[in-house]
């Protein structure tokens, strides 16, 4: 279920490293816990993001949650489909539900987990 080629954060984001770029989304666990996502506020291209700092907000019917950046860098683009179809995050968190593509400035891989370690954290 959880792709092996991704890195996972304690805040339930996933990161796919593609050369000098990283694609960021939230995990299936996070999507299920949040429930129906109805609105996302994601950064614009050119914006600088810092590891551990808010990258955007996720609104569900019941609550609003911060999305934290697992790395530092410059935003290349946010997923344009999510403004009209945020439910794609619930339906396909590792695919069509990706959120932000960032040009990596700094990434501490020691802060991230592989799929097995993340699975142990959330599934026990």
């Amino acid at each position: 279920m959880r792709p092996d080629d991704l890195k996972y954060s304690r805040e339930h984001e996933w990161v796919r490293i593609e050369g000098g770029e990283a694609v960021i989304g939230i995990t299936d666990f996070a999507a299920d816990e949040l429930g129906d996502i109805v609105f996302l506020e994601l950064p614009e291209a050119g914006q600088m993001v810092l590891a551990g700092e808010p990258l955007g907000t996720i609104e569900t019917v019941k609550a609003v949650e911060e999305l934290y950046s697992p790395l530092s860098g410059e935003v290349i683009e946010s997923n344009p489909d999510l403004s009209e179809q945020p439910e794609k995050v619930n339906a396909d968190p590792y695919g069509d539900g990706w959120m932000v593509r960032v040009r990596i400035a700094e990434l501490d891989e020691n802060e991230l987990m592989d799929a097995a370690a993340y699975g142990e954290m959330v599934d026990g």
Binding site: G35, E41, E59, V61
Partner: protein, 371 residues
């Protein structure tokens, strides 16, 4: 969640994938499949909700009618047995202690349905004020309440084998009326009421029969698209319908006139608790209004968000969510009377969003069928 109260259906909810949350001291289902899917089921077909946490109080005796009428703002002096009214319960200052359904079961037998969070307060309010000709009993713990809501609700009841011999009585049931039925071993009070803005029913019965009712309804409704629904969908449905909720639009700091339920105040019915204060407020001018706001996008102005007019705070959002039907943010807000027709904005975590004042309900009311 060890100290939480359970309903007769809590175990069923847990076994059937519900996400359970604390609500008014009870462990209650927030959702099963998802809030949006359950919301859509009720708008398009039907859903069942366990709302057994609601409080049921019984007032009986020769003075029951007059005594209840003296405590509530609406008028039950001519309410015929088998009918119900929605009302506010106010204190002497005219502030809202709770909103209630009052059923006349007989000329000397009234059932009061109160919010779970206000059960103790409402019970003692009644107990301390009822005269000797009326007695009070709190039947909440032994009473279950299941709401069947949505345009196909009647189809579900028609397909429910236990109800077959009473189908005609059910079909004749008007909005805000009720019927006591004995279905084999199951005593049932079937009421054409609800909190979703759709055609629907609320079913009161002894808690010991709740699981049988729940499973029989789900089986009867399977071909109608009936789904179990949680409190999450109940809240988005009531908000789209423009209905007030205690702890949001209603509390002890507002009068019914300020909270969108002024129509339940019958100043001419004779004396009742809160009447003098409410009359005085009406004559002096009602300082605040509850209004409906639509956002242009999917962003949500939640409870507590400030409402602004030309940069100045004029009120506060009392309920806000995403409307699954309209696909944009909707809210109810309490604003100063002068601002109730102005150009308004809401402050969503520091960002100002334009809002449009709308006439509630946000979604057409279909409690009496297609409009």
């Amino acid at each position: 969640m060890t100290n939480l109260q359970r309903t007769a259906l809590t175990a069923w909810h847990a076994e059937n994938g519900a996400k359970l949350v604390e609500f008014a001291g009870y462990s209650m289902p927030l959702q099963y499949e998802g809030v949006v899917a359950e919301h859509r089921a009720v708008r398009r077909a039907c859903g069942v909700f366990d709302v057994s946490h609601m409080a049921e109080l019984r007032v009986t005796g020769s003075d029951a009618r007059a005594e209840v009428n003296r405590l509530i703002t609406n008028d039950v002096s001519k309410l015929e047995p088998g009918h119900a009214v929605y009302t506010a319960l106010c204190n002497d200052a005219g502030m809202v202690l709770d909103d209630l359904l009052v059923y006349a079961l007989a000329d000397d037998d009234f059932m009061i349905v109160a919010n779970a969070c206000n059960r103790a307060k409402v019970t003692s309010w009644f107990a301390e004020r009822l005269g000797t000709g009326a007695s009070l009993r709190d039947e909440s713990d032994e009473t279950a309440l299941v709401a069947l809501q949505g345009p196909r609700s009647l189809d579900v009841l028609r397909a429910w084998p236990r109800l077959l011999s009473s189908t005609r009585a059910v079909e004749a049931l008007e909005y805000y009326s009720c019927q006591r039925l004995q279905l084999d071993d199951m005593p049932l009070l079937l009421s054409r009421t609800g909190y979703t803005g759709e055609w629907g029913y609320e079913l009161y019965l002894p808690a010991a029969h709740a699981l049988a009712l729940w499973e029989e309804l789900l089986a009867a409704g399977a071909s109608c698209g009936l789904k179990p629904c949680g409190l999450g969908a109940r809240d988005t449905l009531r908000l789209e319908a423009g209905f007030s909720l205690y702890g949001h639009e209603l509390d002890e700091d507002v009068t019914p006139f300020e909270s969108g339920i002024g129509w339940v105040v019958r100043l001419r019915k004779g004396d009742f608790i809160g009447r003098d204060a409410l009359l005085a407020q009406k004559e002096a001018g009602i300082p605040r209004r509850t209004i409906a706001l639509g956002l242009s996008g999917r962003n949500i102005a939640r409870q507590g968000a400030r409402v602004l007019h030309e940069g100045a705070a004029v009120g506060v959002v009392t309920s806000g969510s995403f409307s699954p039907t309209l696909q944009h943010g909707i809210a109810l807000a309490r604003v100063s009377d002068r601002a109730a027709e102005a150009r308004l904005q809401v402050d969503i975590r520091g960002k100002l969003a334009d809002v449009e004042i709308q006439k509630p309900p946000f979604v057409p009311n279909r409690t009496r069928g297609e409009s």
